[in-house]
């Protein structure tokens, strides 16, 4: 055990997080789906090992720096991993592995969609890993763009005009967001003459405000913050289930991660209370409006997609809460924790929704009665994921909610408490629309197919992780503290 531990800590895992997925993507593209399927599991497992190793390493040795090819900044690409990055990487690897297992069963070997799924997914994972590891603004732009393109490609996997339209809408939004971000980058470079995140700091002036506005806006579009969420439901709801899981759980988190990084490393000196409150307000709007729309949905996957819109709102509550002490650290932790637990829970939920669709042959919530008997583990998985999304104990979502509430109380911003309470109840309201189907009798006209065990199994594992995040918060938070902007406040 200790050998394994020592070995995990000793290896520099950063290249292993980038190389294999990208190689897998290329090979899969060149050699076709069969080989891609064959390679998928080893690569994904390797990814998880690497991410775990990196997390351990960061936890023990502190933030890691890796100069790619031996070239340092500014010309070379320098990679950097602190606790936050390690956590996001680990989440990506874990969800990636689960989605990979799921997809092996979901896309049969001769499925046309599989041909493109494997390279695009591997590419997406590689791009995300790169994004989490990047330490300068322009690299971040490139990875953001790569990730976006791969994601759009995945959305376009589904055939039909609707899927294409969704993909295009998504693409346009992603491009717009990227360009707004890029303009910000250009302004930063013009102002500061450097792009390395480590050394940068904005002063409070008009230009800074412009930069903050541009970059935040761009990233908010990519994160689908209310009211810029228009592209998300069709894209996430319409894509094949494993794609939805990747997009909803991971992709929006990447842009959020970036925003987090910028806001608390680059922007912090220049921001003011109204701006932070404004972001929080948008988050609150997302929670309420997204939940409300989720309540109106008839299709299962659309409901889950709108739930993502709502859950993104919690992420943005972090900004008003964490920008100003007291309670900043709790808010920061809570926000990140919410990103993590939402990732696992939402991935599980989308995957299991796919299994349900497979079993029932349709996605109409009202006619899903009887699923409880046909797909008990599936329903249970959905329930576990729901627990986390509702922020009920013992789950990661609960820890996140706890920390955010703690921050809100500590800083006296009670209005966010109300928002979170109402949001939690609304999420319960729409999620139980699905859960109650478990107790209804099977409709007469429904015939169930038995989905492959892997579909439900992988989703179940993810939901267990979402639950486990609530029980293992201590270690997770310790990792998160490494290199966090609030370390001075930790005891």
């Amino acid at each position: 055990m200790s050998h394994l531990h020592a070995w995990l800590v000793a290896v520099d895992w950063i290249p292993w997080l980038l190389g294999p997925p990208l190689a897998h993507a290329t090979l899969a593209f060149l050699l076709g789906p069969r080989l891609a399927r064959l390679l998928a599991l080893p690569v994904l497992v390797l990814g998880l090992v690497a991410a775990s190793g990196l997390a351990l390493r960061v936890l023990e040795l502190g933030p890691q720096v890796h100069a790619l090819g031996g070239w340092g900044a500014p010309l070379g690409i320098e990679l950097y991993a602190d606790g936050l990055a390690a956590l996001m990487l680990w989440m990506t690897a874990a969800i990636g592995l689960a989605v990979g297992c799921y997809s092996l069963a979901f896309f049969s070997a001769d499925d046309r969609r599989g041909t493109y799924f494997w390279p695009l997914a591997a590419f997406l994972i590689g791009a995300m890993n790169a994004l989490y590891l990047s330490a300068d603004l322009f690299n971040l732009y490139v990875t953001l763009e790569l990730m976006g393109l791969a994601a759009v490609g995945l959305v376009a996997l589904s055939s039909g005009a609707a899927a294409l339209a969704a993909a295009l809408r998504y693409l346009l939004a992603a491009l717009l967001g990227s360009l707004l971000y890029l303009l910000g980058v250009a302004l930063v470079y013009g102002n500061q003459g450097s792009l390395a995140l480590a050394g940068l700091s904005l002063e409070a002036n008009l230009l800074s405000s412009l930069i903050i506005a541009l970059m935040t806006l761009g990233l908010a579009i990519k994160t689908a913050l209310f009211p810029l969420h228009f592209w998300l439901p069709p894209a996430h709801g319409g894509a094949p289930a494993p794609v939805s899981a990747l997009l909803s759980a991971l992709v929006i988190k990447a842009s959020f991660y970036l925003l987090l990084r910028l806001w608390f490393e680059l922007f912090l000196p220049a921001i003011n209370l109204p701006a932070a409150q404004f972001l929080g307000l948008l988050g609150a709007g997302a929670i309420l409006w997204g939940s409300w729309l989720a309540l109106q949905q008839r299709e299962l996957k659309m409901l889950v997609a709108y739930s993502t819109v709502a859950q993104v709102g919690y992420l943005f509550l972090l900004f008003p809460l964490a920008s100003f002490a007291p309670g900043a650290e709790a808010a920061w932790n809570g926000g990140v924790y919410h990103a993590l637990s939402h990732g696992f829970a939402k991935a599980a939920m989308f995957l299991v929704a796919g299994a349900m669709l497979f079993a029932a042959g349709h996605g109409e919530i009202r006619r899903l009665g009887g699923l409880g008997q046909q797909l008990p583990l599936g329903m249970f998985t959905f329930a576990l994921a729901s627990v986390s999304l509702m922020g009920l104990p013992p789950s990661g979502g609960f820890i996140a909610k706890w920390l955010l509430l703690e921050a809100a109380l500590a800083s006296g911003q009670w209005w966010w408490i109300l928002v979170m309470m109402v949001g939690g109840l609304l999420s319960a309201a729409y999620l139980f629309r699905v859960l109650r189907q478990a107790f209804l009798p099977t409709p007469a006209d429904t015939r169930f197919r038995r989905p492959p065990a892997m579909l439900v199994g992988s989703a179940f594992l993810l939901s267990l992780v979402a639950l486990g995040l609530g029980l293992w918060a201590n270690g997770t938070l310790a990792l998160l503290r490494v290199g966090a902007p609030f370390t001075e406040m930790t005891p």
Partner: protein, 101 residues
């Protein structure tokens, strides 16, 4: 006003022009073009602002090159999707957005 700043301001203007087009138009081709104009504006800003010190800064050049590659691939991807959409639905606009101008 130095040349650099001039370029930068032009870049900003281009960006705004592109943004206007991107939002205003419904036809996908126009929007893709608008996106390219925005991208060009960005690059101009990047290169222009970097010239403040008088001497040539190599970093933005590298960045812009990379950026162009990204933009080109994105454009290509967008065009393919648009074409496919036209094949499937017979429209070059997203559903719910009609061509007005």
């Amino acid at each position: 006003m130095t040349g650099g700043l001039f370029y930068a301001i032009t870049g900003v203007l281009l960006f705004c022009l592109g943004l206007y087009g991107f939002i205003q138009h419904a036809h996908l081709l126009r929007r893709i073009l608008a996106f390219n104009i925005m991208g060009s504006g960005c690059f101009l800003v990047l290169v222009g602002l970097a010239q403040r010190g008088g001497q040539v800064d190599p970093v933005p050049h590298a960045l812009v090159l990379t950026g162009i590659v990204v933009a080109v691939s994105a454009t290509a991807f967008a065009l393919i999707l648009m074409r496919q959409l036209y094949v499937e639905s017979g429209h070059c606009t997203l559903p719910g957005e009609d061509e007005e101008s």
